[in-house]
C-alpha cells in the first residue's frame, strides 16, 4: 500500500503544478451552472412542473451533479494512459512490483482531490446566486447510500477511462473513441437532462447500463429523485458493474500487453 500512497502524493504534487489550469476550468465551469439556470429557467416558464419536479429540484440536481463531477469524474485519464502506452512509459511498470491499475487509480484519486477542492471554490463563488433555489432532502439514508454510490461511481468512471486508454495498444489515435464514449456517457449518465425525464420504458432500460451509475445515480440519491428501495437495488447493480468493469480493465491490460513491444535501450 505504501507505494500507492507515494503515487498518490506524487500525483497530488504534479496536479498542484497545474493548479491554475484547474482553477481556470473550475471558474469557467460556473458559466455552465449559469447556462443550466437560464436554460432550465426558460423551460420552466412553459410549465411549472417537468417530469413531476419543480425548477428548484431540477436546479439542485444539476448543482449536485456539478460538484460530484469534480470529485469523482474521470477527466483525461484515458488520454494520460494512452500517452503512457504510446510513449513506452509503461515499460517501467512492467519491471517493477507495481500494479498499473492501482497506480493509475492512486493518481486519479489525487487529481480528484485537487479538482474537487477547486470545484468547491467554484461552488462557493456561485452559491450566493443559487442558494435560494437549492432544496436538498434531509433523509439520513441518502448520505449513507450516497457515499458508497459516489465511491463506486468514481471506480466505474475510472475503469471505463482506463479501458479506453488501453485502446492505445491497438490504435494509434484513440481520441475519436474517447469523445464518442464521452457523448454516450454524457447523455446516458444524465448530464444533459435528468434521466427520469425519459419515457418510463427507456428509463428502466437505461438503469441497467453502467452509464446510469456514472453520474445520475449518486446525484439522484442525494437530491431526492429516487426512493430507498430503488437506491438499494441500484447500489447492488452498481457494485456488480464496478466489479465487471474492473475485471474487463484487467483483461484488456493483459491482452494489450501481449501486443506491446518495449523498444529502446
Amino acid at each position: 500500500m505504501l507505494k500507492y500512497r507515494h503515487a498518490f502524493v506524487v500525483g497530488l504534487q504534479s496536479n498542484l503544478v497545474y493548479r491554475w489550469n484547474f482553477a481556470a476550468r473550475s471558474l469557467f465551469s460556473i458559466f455552465h451552472l449559469v447556462f443550466i439556470f437560464i436554460f432550465w429557467g426558460a423551460i420552466y416558464t412553459g410549465s411549472a412542473s417537468i417530469g413531476g419536479y419543480g425548477f428548484a429540484q431540477t436546479l439542485t440536481y444539476f448543482v449536485a451533479l456539478f460538484v460530484l463531477q469534480f470529485f469523482i469524474g474521470a477527466f483525461n485519464e484515458d488520454y494520460q494512459i494512452s500517452e503512457d502506452i504510446r510513449n513506452g512509459l509503461i515499460n517501467q511498470f512492467l519491471l517493477k512490483p507495481i500494479n498499473y491499475f492501482a497506480y493509475r487509480l492512486s493518481v486519479f484519486a489525487s487529481a480528484r482531490v485537487v479538482s474537487g477542492a477547486l470545484g468547491l471554490v467554484a461552488l462557493g463563488a456561485a452559491l450566493p446566486f443559487f442558494r435560494g433555489y437549492l432544496v436538498l432532502p434531509h433523509d439520513g439514508w441518502r448520505i449513507a447510500l450516497g457515499i458508497p454510490a459516489m465511491a463506486l461511481t468514481a471506480l466505474i468512471q475510472f475503469s471505463i477511462a482506463y479501458c479506453f486508454g488501453m485502446l492505445a495498444f491497438w490504435f494509434l489515435e484513440i481520441q475519436g473513441f474517447v469523445i464518442l464514449s464521452m457523448a454516450v456517457e454524457t447523455v446516458l449518465g444524465g448530464q444533459f437532462f435528468p434521466l427520469d425525464l425519459l419515457p418510463p420504458a427507456v428509463f428502466r432500460a437505461v438503469s441497467y447500463l453502467p452509464f446510469y451509475y456514472q453520474a445520475y445515480f449518486p446525484t439522484a440519491i442525494l437530491t431526492g429523485r429516487i426512493g430507498l428501495p430503488a437506491a438499494a437495488r441500484g447500489l447492488a447493480v452498481q457494485a456488480i458493474w464496478a466489479a465487471v468493469l474492473v475485471c474487463v480493465a484487467e483483461a484488456v491490460w493483459l491482452r494489450g500487453l501481449r501486443r506491446h513491444t518495449a523498444a529502446g535501450g
Binding site: 489550469n21 481556470a24 410549465s47
Partner: protein, 266 residues
C-alpha cells in the same frame, strides 16, 4: 489583391494536404464523423425530451428551437471543419516550442497556424446541421426568399468568425500559462449559450453579459431570426459590430501573447 490571392493559394494548398491526409486515415474520418453526428443527435434528443414535457421554451416552439439548435451546430461544424485542429494544436505547439514552425513561414502566423488543417468530418456533418435547419424550416412552413437565404449565410459566416475569435483568445492563454490543456473547455462552455433563445434572458446581469458583452447568444439567434422573421436591422447590425470587435480583440490578444513567446528549442 496580390496578398489575398497569395493567402488563397496557401489555403488551397493546405486544403489539398488535409484532404490527402484524411484519405490516408479513412477509419479515423469515419470515427470522427460518427462522433460529430452523435453530438448533433444528442442535442436533438435533448430538445425532444424537453418538449415531451412542455410545449414552449421562452416562447419558442419545438421546431423553432430545432432551427436555432441547427444554426448553432452549423456554425460550430464550420468552425470545427475549417479551424479547430490548427487552433487546438496551437496550445501544445506553444508549450513545446513547435510554434517556431509557423513563425518561420512567409505569412501571418495566426493565419498559418489556424488554417493549416481542415477536418473533413466537421465539414461533412455541416450538411447534417444544414439538413436540420431545412427540416425545421419546412415543419414551420417557412419559405425564405433568396435575399433571406443570402443574409442567413452572411450571418452564419459572421458567427463562424466570432467563434473563431473566441477560440483563438482561449488558446492564446497558452502564451501565459504553463499548460493550456483543458482550456478549450472554456470555449465549449461559453458556446452552450448559443442554443438558448434570446427571450430566455430577462433583463439583468445575465442578459448584459451573454447577449451584449459576450455575443454567444446573438451569434446563433441572429441568423435563426432571419429565417423566422426576415431581416431585422438591429440584429444584423449588432452581429456585424460584434464580429468586427471580436476579431480585432482576438488578433490583439494573439499578437500580445506572441510577443511573450520565447520558443523552447535549443
Amino acid at each position: 489583391m496580390t496578398t489575398l490571392s497569395r493567402y488563397l493559394r496557401v489555403w488551397l494548398a493546405s486544403a489539398r494536404y488535409s484532404l490527402v491526409r484524411t484519405m490516408m486515415f479513412r477509419g479515423d474520418l469515419f470515427i470522427w464523423a460518427l462522433v460529430e453526428l452523435f453530438w448533433i443527435s444528442v442535442n436533438v434528443l435533448m430538445i425532444e425530451v424537453v418538449y415531451s414535457h412542455t410545449s414552449t421554451v421562452a416562447g419558442w416552439s419545438k421546431y423553432e428551437m430545432l432551427l436555432l439548435a441547427g444554426t448553432s451546430m452549423l456554425i460550430q461544424r464550420f468552425l470545427m471543419g475549417f479551424f479547430w485542429s490548427g487552433i487546438f494544436e496551437m496550445g501544445r505547439n506553444v508549450r513545446s516550442g513547435a510554434f517556431d514552425f509557423f513563425l518561420a513561414q512567409p505569412g501571418d502566423p495566426l493565419f498559418m497556424a489556424s488554417t493549416r488543417k481542415l477536418e473533413m468530418d466537421g465539414l461533412l456533418n455541416s450538411f447534417v446541421a444544414a439538413g436540420l435547419v431545412v427540416y425545421s424550416a419546412r415543419k414551420l412552413g417557412l419559405h425564405p426568399g433568396p435575399s433571406d437565404l443570402a443574409l442567413y449565410a452572411c450571418m452564419v459566416a459572421c458567427g463562424v468568425v466570432i467563434h473563431y475569435s473566441a477560440l483563438v483568445m482561449s488558446m492564446s492563454l497558452s502564451f501565459w500559462i504553463t499548460s493550456s490543456q483543458g482550456v478549450e473547455g472554456s470555449y465549449f462552455t461559453l458556446m452552450e449559450f448559443s442554443r438558448i433563445p434570446r427571450e430566455a434572458f430577462s433583463k439583468g446581469l445575465a442578459s448584459a453579459l451573454f447577449v451584449w458583452v459576450l455575443p454567444v447568444v446573438v451569434v446563433s439567434n441572429a441568423p435563426a431570426r432571419v429565417m423566422l422573421h426576415g431581416f431585422e436591422p438591429s440584429w444584423a447590425l449588432g452581429l456585424c459590430a460584434a464580429t468586427l470587435v471580436w476579431f480585432a480583440l482576438a488578433v490583439a490578444v494573439f499578437r500580445s501573447g506572441l510577443r511573450r513567446y520565447t520558443s523552447a528549442s535549443s
